[in-house]
Symmetry: C3
Subunit: 340 residues, 3 copies
């Protein structure tokens, strides 16, 4: 694809000559003389002069002789350009229903459904149009999968789990296993049947090796548009809002309620039965012990506090430690002086 | 089922009329005018008056005109009631042995064993009566599975792993992969063969996506009645006692020994080769660096300390920080006053 | 095998009589009167006198009447001895290609490849000589697997992932799922196609239930000889050096660069886009927020600092807390005295 064609695809304005082939896209730090690259933020503008790239895609005209495509939303343009330049790397799956899949006769498959080898689809499942159930994925009984949703290899969806349309669930993710519900029976543990399920919305993307437990009585819910990275655990009866950004190795204890558009950094833990307001940002490596009621605050640390307060307190504590270390050093020095 | 019948099922005493259908169970906070609900603790008694529920199940008579079932153990009754009211939501699996399973001819299957499509059972395995090996689960060579145990879809049990009776292992859990045993060989790492195995007791429930590594020489052991949530890692040669409650995203380093009835909160890490006494409670988000020898203590924080001590020390530290912040603020104020 | 034969196998020097059968190996703390045991470090030499073991393997002659094999590298000898004494416990897999595997006709399999039941191998895959693809593992399109590499049951390798020779990937590990790449599109998240892949070197061992995401534009790379334990997450575009020792439940955010021979303890988190110098040791339960440029340092805590400094600061903080507690206690005592 020529640079000029790329400008059309992106709906951008071309400045300079677009008459060369685009074969490689690269971030500005890794651009080579064969690359087209991106200036996604103003702070990177100063790297343009020294960049070996053939051309740039930016949100504004640049001070360079090289060709530039100006687009209103450079990150969206980046996503579009990647898809346009590397079409062969966008995942595709062989269509059709493998005769090595095991599909219960009572399951209902929509139009143009793909089912790969080793996939198992239980009684009463309903699979939407153009959905894809890939190799060795297992759907229990009465699982619902929406239109165009992709269930990757080796995913396990337990009985009655519901997944909306245009969603993606990656390999190794387990949805609908029993929540951790036991009651003390002397020194033993009695099991509380977990009779709820998990309901996942539309346009949800869930990464690899996550676990989302079914609700005890009610349901565990993942709202529309929410994106989850890898190895996150969502316990029974959590209700995650819409368009949340949830990264990896996060531990949601039971009954956590997240508003909409909440962002959670990796390796974080949230205490049970707490609520997090809309647009809150929880930084990585945080331990959230209490509900956060103020929308849009950014918190960090353990126990979680507003990030600026946490940093100030940390700095104060560091000052106290440094002063004490100095006091001890001074005292030792005085003692040595006295002894001389 | 009528409320009066439910009273019989629970072995409880009915106060008031039991002549209505029970179609919905709900926690007291989520009860609707169609619900029967539970008063599991005295603190919830005050919610009875304003609850729209049709009837209550409680450990004592309640000050209400609505019907009440009085039971000696309300949590056990809760578990029983859930099973009685929602029988169709208790998992069931189609019986029989799928012709799409791959079972080595030398494997021995007990009476009424269920094996679903895609399950693979290796040479020399012994599967107990009424055990269930569900879709796409993989058992290596000489794996032992006890009577009535359920191995969920996509579980991997490596060679020679032993699982007792009446146990449950959920999807994505891996039992018996090699422990992390390497020795420095110059700047490279040499592998120490891991020739032990994993022995899991009876009445054990293990959630989704856990990993339990085989022992190096001896075995990794999970005691009878222990319940493990999701995404917990148990390294080689750990010995977990009986009736422990181990929640999610816990990292057990190698050789950790847990007594009986130990409880461990989520997102916690335990250092290698330490021992934890019976009945210890380790709260969530804790880092346990040393053995805990006193039975029954509750610990938290990093490094773990008795919880009350940890809280007191945290409060003291907070006081020091606050006082220092005040001192700095006062000094600034004084300086400003002086300058005026 | 007789003790004298074991001496030959290990290339060691036998002191005393080697004329007895070796049937059990044990660590020195667990040795029984039937065991041969190891003295791997000088500090364990004092345990020899009271040990019931039949014989010892050590890096030097021991002050004992019992037979000893002296070897130059006792840990390497330990590994060799385990393999020699327990040959039946070293994993073996039935050879051949199962007719229950689903292998795309365009895949190229080398000499003596093993493919077990339920394994799925996609179009254009290339599998090296003597490689083993075990039960229900799934390889997407154009996956490369090197000679003698073992892909355990229920592993998912996405399209175009490359694994070198003599490597091992354990069950439940997912390689090549999309990196977490989204851009804000109003209050929604737009997806950035992840068109890189994952390249894993030779002699790499990866444990169970890890996730290694494919790169966004460039690749995610795991260097030769690196060993990874379980449940570790490696985000897109990380570049892990050679011979690193990476344990369990570690969260690598996007774009982390590790030098060679870096060691990382369990339950640790590393911030995005940071670099770690060669030979750095990151202790367990650490939160690394910034790059570490000095080779070979040992760091701990959150935020990570050099370990000795961290310990000193922790001790100083503890002293401040203890002093404040004492001050409060004294004040209370004074008050009581005054009131009397």
């Amino acid at each position: 694809m020529k640079f000029s064609q790329l400008a059309s695809v992106l709906g951008g304005k071309l400045i300079g000559s677009g008459d060369f082939e685009v074969t490689e896209l690269a971030p500005i730090d890794l651009a080579t003389p064969a690359s087209v690259t991106f200036v996604l933020e103003g702070q990177f503008e100063k790297k343009v002069a020294e960049s070996p790239a053939l051309g740039f895609i930016c949100f504004k005209a640049l001070n360079t002789d090289k060709p530039v495509i100006v687009v209103p939303h450079p990150r969206a343009a980046f996503a579009q350009a990647v898809a346009a330049i590397y079409p062969e790397r966008i995942p595709q799956w062989a269509p059709g229903i493998s005769d090595r899949a095991a599909i219960d006769p009572s399951a209902k498959l929509g139009r143009d459904v793909t089912v790969h080898a080793g996939a198992v689809i239980g009684a009463g499942c309903v699979i939407g149009d153009e959905a894809k159930i890939l190799a060795n994925a297992v759907l229990g009984r009465a699982v619902l999968v929406g239109d165009r949703t992709v269930i990757h290899p080796l995913v396990s969806l337990y009985d009655r789990v519901q997944v909306g349309s245009d969603s993606i669930i990656n390999s190794g993710t387990i949805v609908g296993s029993d929540g951790y519900g036991f009651f003390p029976d002397g020194m033993k543990w009695g099991k509380i049947p977990q009779v709820g399920t998990v309901i996942i919305g539309d346009n949800v993307e869930i990464g690899a090796n996550n676990t989302i437990d079914r609700g005890a009585l009610g349901n565990t819910v993942i709202g529309n548009g929410t994106k989850i990275d890898n190895q996150t655990h969502i316990a029974h009866n959590c209700r995650i809002g819409e368009n949340c950004a949830i990264t990896s190795q996060i531990c949601f204890a039971g009954g956590v309620v997240l508003g909409n558009h909440v962002m959670v950094g990796g390796h974080t833990a949230l205490n049970q039965h707490i609520s997090i307001a809309d647009n809150v940002v929880i930084m990585g490596n945080t331990g959230v012990t209490k509900s956060i009621t103020e929308p849009g605050v950014m918190v960090s640390g353990y126990p979680a506090k507003p990030h600026l307060e946490q940093r100030r307190e940390y700095a104060t504590m560091q000052k106290l430690i440094d002063r004490e270390k100095q006091t001890i050093a001074d005292r030792r020095q005085n003692k040595e002086n006295t002894e001389l």
